[in-house]
Subunit: 195 residues, 3 copies
């Protein structure tokens, strides 16, 4: 869809009767509005819901590549995705179910299975072996690179609350925020993905 | 990427030879085009493909939070996602396979399993128990809230046709539309997710 | 959120002291920037990560419907999604693990399972049977239609490298590109989905 610029100079209805100065001022205000509010090609917000190694890797590759291209990147981790950020388990003071979830979920990408053909972990081991053979970074290395590249990492506060995960269990440099924090970033982003 | 505004007043090539009036009119027309066509930060379109309780909850939390922030939200339900909208099963006049799918798919979010560690429904029961403990709404309550908040809910017509699902099986207040209806909404939305 | 156009002609702070000519030239430059950089409603980029028949079909329906509406569509295939493009297996010169993955992954959409209730392929067979009954195209036919409709198809180079997949195994008319190629398309697209 090409932008049609009409060189005959016919003005839209709304501006008839306005002075040149007023029309320019209106354009400037609307442009200011777009600059401050419209989705931007140079901003990406990835919602990481999954804790499958293959999906998480896809997300981290996109995030770090985008950052290297000068795109401002936010990754928002919710539900199982919180496990990407998990570094250790702290059991003290947790309810029984919270401890159970702790025990059954991975601490960080290097302990995750893959979404298909995991075969009790053999699939994940195979993928990691093949990536290493091709000199591709591991999940934990990609996460580190994301931090170094200035990717903003936010952990979902509601998921943390429901699953009983505490900030001291997460890796350093993580913000905690709710769905509104996610939407504030996503609504201005050209690229928005649910992974 | 900061917008570079050039205060030296050098005009792009295309406008040379045009009068001030013509240049303003062209800008106004292009601005009108953007206003009526460009993706908007205050519009979000979620495609719900999944019938996993955890994914559906994530989608409904985003949808209702966005609506509370003044964002115009559309949720488009396709394939397994149609089960989010399902309220009852109507077998009469259905083919054998359609009845089988009916029997094997949930009616509404409160009857869904989770995408990981479902363990024959124990995982879903655990999640629901933990959400209740933290005073978080249930899936059905979030769906109700979405309706109350003015979220537009569209059921995919092709999926309904292929799976033999009829509108009388769905909850009230649902529109039925095809992929073109989805794209009409999504193409103007800052936030677009496949869940 | 309605655009507020202020007919009183009050100019933003930054333009005070500039001539009418300079203000118009600034607006033209900023408009040119938007035209060349902002996300567009008439552009969609789908990242196909999955090789579940149901998800792939949803992606191809969206892609071909969008193309029929005049939307410029790119599909980027990564990880398991590469199997959508696979037409044959070439074992010669592959490492053992690469051959194993070859053997265990489908060649093209018509050999894929579904994400739920697959029951050893029965679910996929059922879905295909029901789609045929409703005169809906098959996965392979949708892929063909996508090509005919001018949808740009890109295979992820890093995934091909890691999994040992070669271009000669893929269907015709496929480009190969990295995450930067994906981001170049996605960042200008109103619709971006991870499928």
């Amino acid at each position: 869809m090409a932008i049609q610029t009409d060189t005959t100079g016919t003005a839209p209805l709304e501006v008839q009767g306005l002075s040149v100065e007023e029309r320019i001022a209106n354009l400037e205000q609307e442009m200011l509005h777009l600059r401050e509010n419209a989705p931007r090609a140079d901003k990406a917000t990835l919602l990481i819901f999954s804790s499958d190694l293959d999906k998480v890797l896809a997300g981290l590759v996109i995030a770090t590549t985008a950052a290297s291209m000068g795109i401002e990147v936010t990754c928002y981790f919710t539900f199982w995705g919180l496990n990407v950020l998990k570094e250790k388990r702290v059991y003290g003071g947790k309810a029984v179910m919270e401890r159970m979830i702790d025990l059954m979920t991975p601490t960080g990408p290097d302990h995750m299975g893959v979404s298909r053909m995991n075969m009790g972990g053999a699939g994940a081991a195979m993928l990691k072996h093949m990536m290493k053979g091709k000199k591709v970074l591991s999940g934990a290395e990609f996460l580190h690179l994301a931090k170094e590249s200035g990717v903003r990492l936010i952990a979902c506060s509601m998921s943390m609350d429901v699953m009983g995960i505490r900030q001291e269990e997460l890796t350093d440099g993580i913000e905690v925020g709710g769905a509104a924090a996610y939407l504030g970033e996503a609504s201005r982003s050209g690229v928005t993905l649910f992974i």
